[in-house]
Subunit: 192 residues, 2 copies
Amino acid sequence: MPSRPRIYLAGPDVFLPDALAIGARKKALCARYGFEGLFPLDETAAADPGGLPLDRVIFRSCVAMLRRADLGIVHLTPFRGPSADPGTVFELGMLLGLGKPVFGYTNLATDLIERVQRAEPVTRAADSRDWIDGDGLTVEDFGNADNLMIDAALAEQGHPIVRIAAPADRFRALAGFERCLQQAAAQFRLNA
Amino acid sequence: MPSRPRIYLAGPDVFLPDALAIGARKKALCARYGFEGLFPLDETAAADPGGLPLDRVIFRSCVAMLRRADLGIVHLTPFRGPSADPGTVFELGMLLGLGKPVFGYTNLATDLIERVQRAEPVTRAADSRDWIDGDGLTVEDFGNADNLMIDAALAEQGHPIVRIAAPADRFRALAGFERCLQQAAAQFRLNA
């Protein structure tokens, strides 16, 4: 049997108390669609050379998995603010730099601009189309789910970020993840 | 004269009302240290093929500049929450994936954990070393300025994120930026 394409599973899932269970569910879904899932926490212990601080061990382990992956699925649900988890965004960028296809989902359906407006005073000068936040900085208003670099990175590959509204279960809901698997399976010509 | 190494200037600076002036100051400092600065907004207009939405034009322009750059300096001052601007974090990841050296600075000296604790209730179970946020997610506590992927990406290259406390002028202060230029000049064996 040929080896299955490997998917790096990026997301704030690693911060959940049941992270390993979520990772197991994601990997089972990957297998159902013909892929192998690589969950960030899986190889941390094995990567420890001894004597290195844990954060550096985790970083090296994740980077090795990113390099080994054939593609990525990034979980972009907003995290401690209006935007996605920065660790996940870093990994999205790294996968792009490595030339690997990336698929992404968020479990909030809202635009970035709506979430910023809800979080702080956002104003617009009468003679301007630009929204300005409390620090005087422009707020993007392109109808995107997040910063344009995130949305465009996925849209330019032909599969815009999947938005599924599941706010109450936003860190665990997997419908958007499964939609990404379907997109990836179509691109990799695999049959579920 | 040999061409000067090109630095991609990532940061939330692009959202400032005086973004172009800040970009000009950064490029002048780059020149003083023997580099050429590439500011994200500089080439957007020239990159417009016509008929493409502005966000996609900006993305393509930035990606082309990231590929052309020899190194990056990323401005990681926290932005709309406890972490750095996600566009900048994406670009940090992309530069890493492209194998280019990256230097970084923040104008807040605090650890990530301190900022999360200030923003929301963070608790610790009596039998655990882990901090838990209001959503039940673990908060990293490695003494880092931001998510470990960001700090470690720089530290692993031998130049940890430069932290300079300039909270009142945090989106414009350039002392940390200049320190990054000095690090880069030393690595590229240039004389200011």
